[in-house]
């Protein structure tokens, strides 16, 4: 039942664990890149492969861990990730979001998210949805049955093929950002005059903050 207001319709894969940290999402050895792309092949690297990963490897030659859920045949083409509590905890590395996107995920649904990861999602167009455990269970069920899951972001509803499954909350502006891909910096810069005015007062009030090395070094 593809709606005109569908943000995304796809297959979900369940990663049923609390506290999935950003070190698991993208291990540190891959953070050495100075780019934003190419991280997808190393998403969940330590869980996805049987050997140790390092940058620049030909991943097609690596032995995959068949037991890991992303590698199971029925979940191979998933683009919605479902997890449990405190998803994305740990390091602030935005590489975690870049790797989920680069792998092909469009939406992550969890019982809760860590703050920095949650912000990083919106800054890159990856939609994080918070649902309670009851709704998560319904989705896990659908994922198991390989039913399509459809996300209507405009109306904040998740559908299965034949019915409505859950409603979700999202900040209205963040919703708009994802839907319209707004330039956050551009938007903040429309307040340039206010920032300049504030800064002028700040210099007067606490001048020591603006001291440079030459005066002090």
């Amino acid at each position: 039942m593809k709606n005109t207001s569908t943000f995304h319709a796809g297959q979900a894969v369940p990663l049923e664990r609390d506290n999935i940290d950003t070190d698991q999402i993208i291990p540190k050895q891959f953070l050495k890149s100075i780019k934003k792309s190419g991280f997808g092949q190393n998403l969940f690297d330590a869980w996805r492969y049987e050997d140790e990963g390092f940058p620049g490897q030909d991943v097609s030659l690596r032995k995959v861990n068949k037991e890991f859920i992303l590698n199971q045949d029925k979940f191979l083409d998933s683009d919605i990730l479902i997890s449990k509590k405190n998803f994305g905890c740990g390091s602030s590395r935005e590489h975690a979001v870049w790797s989920l996107l680069d792998y092909g995920f469009k939406v992550v649904i969890a019982e809760s998210f860590a703050d920095i990861f949650y912000n990083n999602c919106f800054n890159n167009g990856l939609l994080p949805i918070v649902l309670d455990s009851k709704d998560i269970d319904k989705l896990l069920n659908l994922a198991e049955q390989r039913q399509q899951i459809e996300i209507d972001l405009e109306n904040q509803i998740i559908f299965s093929v034949d019915s409505e499954v859950a409603h979700f909350d999202i900040d209205p502006f963040r919703k708009k950002c994802i839907l319209e891909g707004l330039d956050e910096i551009g938007l903040s810069l429309t307040h340039s005059e206010q920032i300049k005015e504030f800064e002028k007062n700040r210099i007067l009030y606490s001048p020591w903050i603006f001291i440079n090395e030459k005066e002090n070094g």
């Binding site: 609390d18 070190d23 291990p27 953070l31 905890c89 990083n120 910096i185 307040h191 920032i195 020591w208």
Partner: protein, 464 residues
């Protein structure tokens, strides 16, 4: 009206509310390292923008730098990909005239050690960095938060962080700590109590007699791990200890400005009767040395405890990864490596705490490697002046050059597959210290005592 410290810091920096109801918070100081900044500088360039206020930014490479031989500088980084990242930081700083303590500079070190040490972290400031452990700086009555790379770019371009207001939580540690119990044990005990998501959406202010009697270094250790409790910011009120720490630091105000500053800073406390959305009170005297047994900092128990029965899949998975079973005593875990360092525990006090235990003793012959990595070139210098390096070396530790090192093992300092490590760092996540490595988070004192024993030991018995 009575305000919390967080509210006061917020009010000092709120520029405006955007149409989307989020706020622009003015950022006084932006700390930069090599891992999370290159994409931000590139984004800035692609959009034809330039940094708003150069003097707000301070950079230093820390994650990728080798801790062995520094004499070769950049040429000493043998991993070409890592080297490019450090070179890119150099290039970006040169292009924008940003002050950098580069790989050759004696002030180079872990960004969260360098900031306070130089007086670049001053009370009343807002501080951000593309690193979650920016919460460290809250120990000096600042509002300091870790941010992602898009936010780094936003701060560079606008000198503001787009953000929402956090809620207020107060964690009071009352009474007095037992001998041998350290700030690291305090912060781990708090995480053990409230969990790794317990502070999500909050700024945590740490207070009570234990915090009041703690050094700034100790307070930094406590605030550093606020993020491990889910809180973006940790805070401690300004007091005489803060003032004494900052006085005469290179970038601290001097003369008239100093007097003006300390007069302003003394208001950086939570007012009597200010409202906290959540209050936690812990009796400091009940805290024992802490050791983590699993793969999340909340999986922590007292040194004399045994590994609990798993009550969730996450716990089962963690025990499996750690190759431990419930019922096993913490003291029966054999150790392979010891790491003393990281933005949590690499300051001079941490090194003194460990050296005091190691003096005149040898680490166990079953320990494959024990390393100590000072947080900055200046911490290293001071430790050498105090003769601490000799104590570490005599006991069997390797004395290294400053950097993040084995906390996240982006450089060659790594655990081997299956090795157990007593580590003074902040995260025991799977593989963080090396592929298949098994991390146990502890204090410097516990790490040192356990190095001698070859397995975990109660440092309280050790010193009595």
């Amino acid at each position: 009206m009575s305000y919390t410290l967080y509210d006061k810091l917020w009010n000092l920096h709120e520029v405006t509310q955007r149409a989307d109801n989020t706020y622009l918070l003015y950022i006084d100081r932006h700390l930069i390292h090599e891992v999370t900044s290159p994409q931000a500088f590139e984004g800035l360039k692609l959009a034809g923008r330039s940094p708003w206020r150069i003097s707000a930014n301070i950079a230093t490479p820390d994650h990728n730098v080798p801790t062995t031989d520094r004499s070769k500088g950049l040429e000493g980084i043998y991993d070409e990909v890592a080297k490019l990242q450090v070179v890119t930081l150099d290039d970006n700083c040169k292009e924008h005239d940003i002050l950098q303590f580069d790989i050759h500079d004696r002030r180079q070190g872990i960004v969260h050690v360098v900031g306070p040490e130089q007086g670049l972290t001053l009370p009343g400031m807002t501080i951000v960095c593309g690193d979650s452990h920016t919460s460290t700086h809250g120990a000096l009555a600042t509002l300091s938060m870790g941010i992602g790379t898009s936010e780094v770019e936003h701060v560079l371009a606008t000198q503001c962080l787009k953000t929402s207001k956090l809620k207020n939580m107060r964690v009071t540690i009352s009474g007095e700590l037992q001998d041998g119990v350290t700030p690291k044990d305090v912060t781990l005990a708090v995480i053990g109590q409230i969990g790794t998501a317990g502070g999500t959406g909050y700024a945590i202010e740490y207070s009570g007699s234990v915090i009041e009697n703690m050094s700034i270094e100790g307070r930094m250790t406590v605030c550093n791990m606020a993020i491990e409790a889910g809180a973006r910011a940790g805070l401690v009120a300004y007091d005489k200890t803060t003032e004494d720490y900052i006085r005469n630091r290179p970038f601290a105000p001097k003369g008239e400005k100093w007097l003006e500053a300390i007069n302003q800073w003394k208001d950086l406390i939570s007012d009597k009767g200010s409202y906290f959305d959540k209050e936690i009170i812990i009796d400091g005297s009940s805290i024992a040395p802490q050791v983590t047994w699993g793969t999340s900092p909340e999986m922590v128990i007292d040194i004399d405890g045994s590994i609990p029965e798993p009550t969730s899949d996450s716990m089962k998975h963690a025990l499996d990864y750690m190759n431990l079973e419930s019922g096993k005593r913490i003291k029966d875990i054999r150790l392979d490596q010891i790491f003393i360092g990281s933005c949590t525990n690499s300051r001079i006090e941490d090194l003194r705490e460990a050296a005091k235990i190691l003096e005149g003793k040898k680490i166990s012959s079953t320990i494959k490697r024990a390393i100590v990595v000072p947080g900055s070139g200046l911490v290293s210098k001071q430790a050498i002046e105090e003769g601490l390096d000799e104590i570490f070396i005599q006991s069997g530790f390797e004395w290294r050059a400053p950097g993040c090192s084995m906390c996240l093992a982006m450089n060659p300092d790594q655990l081997g597959d299956g090795e157990h490590c007593a580590s003074t760092s902040n995260r025991n996540f799977e593989g963080r210290q090396g592929y298949g490595g098994r991390t146990h988070l502890v204090s410097p004192a516990t790490a040192a005592a356990s190095a001698i024993q070859g397995s975990f030991v109660d440092v309280r018995d050790f010193i009595s």
